[in-house]
Amino acid sequence: MELTQLQKDILEGKQGETLAKIMKTLMMYGEAFGATRMAEVTSDYNHLVTSFGLGVMKPVYELMDTLLKENALSKQKFTVDPRPLDPNVPSNFLQNIVFRYFMYSRQDFYEKQLQKLGLLDKDAFTCTCYMPQVGNTPKYGDILSWSESSAVVYANSVLGARCNRNSGIIDIMGSILGYVPYFGLLTDEGRKADWIIRIETSRKPEAQLLGSAIGMKVMEDVPYVIGLDRWLGSELNDEACTYLKDFGAATASNGAVGLYHIDNLTPEARKFGRSLIREGAKEFIVTDEVLEETYRNYPIVWKDKDAAPQLCFMGCPHMSLQQLKDWTDTIEKGLKESGSGQVMIPTVFTASPAVIKEFKKTDYWPRLDKTGIVLSYICPLMYMNNPLSAKMRVITSSNKLRTYTTSRYYTNEQIKDLLCKGGN
């Protein structure tokens, strides 16, 4: 790898042993992918994946301490994934004790570390940092050192920024150094599509189901999706962006997609068209049957598959403002039709603190509150990942949450019916 004089000096330890180790780490990481140089990080802010103060992740806190002691701070302010705890979310006495005193016992400690390292503000905790209300929205062509698979795939695909699927810790190291290795999704070549995906469904595909089917098929490759603009249109409006947020999260968690192009819609597809498709790209046709089969193949790990759900989580990744408004309308209408006053299953909608703040200024908030739904900034995934919550029968329309936990996936329409009419 070719380094500038400044980068060579850092590697040789002229700015301290810790920075030298960071440079070595990023070089080894980049060299494995044929990186030829280090590229300057150009975004205003970074985004980190590790938001949770799990007691057991001592190695991370020790490493962070080392960085702080050596004054190796982030050159950029950063946002970070959602908090794992929120007292508003239903939990029993035992769960509260386990969450607070066993699992996330280092939460306060870790948040103080994040503040010292460069946290944007005390409420900068969300996986959807790119929402306008949050303000960490990279520009087209920006080079990022982000992690969080759903945020990376959104930044690359919908915003046209350039970021590899970086891991936690690598993310902050790029920000401390101000450079990331130049390879993969940072390069023009790495952004070309290996797959052509043809959408031939008879109706608008469920975003999370389509993302799951494509993710499991293409894994880490770049798909170029043809035929989705028929359902989403050719403008990146709120509805399309929300759809792509959920679609992308499913491609990234059910597979390892870091970038997708949607013909006639996403910025690079609009700019370069089908010239983004590599010669010899493989092809995958998505039909109603493909989506039904994908759905059928999800394992249900509940002990009693026929028992009624105990909790519903919606918003993994966190919901957009428009999504909260749309769901308020949907639930209100569903409850009116079923003659019910409130939802039949304890339900939590999750969104970023900034989006929640904006939502609470609208007249939708009292209407949602009336349905009995809890609005929270929590990370549902972190809530679920312990034996007590794992035994709960949780339903969701998030394919990311389904993948990482024991929760059961239903489509948005099914969730609406379960919440408004009950049943199992």
Partner: protein, 146 residues
């Protein structure tokens, strides 16, 4: 017995038993329980991976196509290495992915655990290696399977 040659991502030698996945290894879904709770054998918790679900991987030679899922993957792998709940080695049929590579590099630079990681071992290796086979890893990316 068969010998294969791959590319060394992080160096090291070891003799271990193979645990084989033909699907992407979801690092967070697989190792989270092992890290959170007292499971030194690191039984895989990923319900979507029938090749590995419930099998212990600590101290084993994990043979896999790639890792998938959350970008906490590298960090999780790094923690598993510091906590000595990591695979003895990771052997990739395909080119390594960015998350696994991050984990391997972080473990190599920032911990005292030697976890040899080799990629590009190819389809023939994938077809040949089976659970329980003896794996010997040499310094230069040579993997002997018997």
């Amino acid at each position: 017995m068969k010998e294969f040659k791959g590319r060394v991502i992080t160096p090291g030698t070891c003799v271990s038993e193979a645990v084989v996945s033909h699907r992407g290894f979801n690092t967070l879904a697989s190792l989270q329980k092992a890290l959170q709770f007292v499971d030194k054998s690191a039984k895989v918790g990923d319900q979507n991976n029938p090749d590995l679900f419930g099998k212990p991987i600590a101290g084993k030679a994990l043979c896999l196509p790639q890792t998938i899922g959350s970008t906490t993957g590298g960090l999780v792998l790094y923690c598993s290495a510091v906590m000595k709940r990591n695979p003895a080695a990771m052997l990739f049929y395909n080119p390594i992915d960015s998350l696994a590579c991050a984990g391997a590099v972080l473990a190599s630079v920032w911990s005292d655990t030697a976890m040899p990681v080799i990629d590009n071992l190819g389809k023939e290796f994938e077809d040949y290696v089976k659970d329980g086979m003896k794996i010997t890893i040499k310094d230069d990316g040579i993997v002997i399977v018997e």
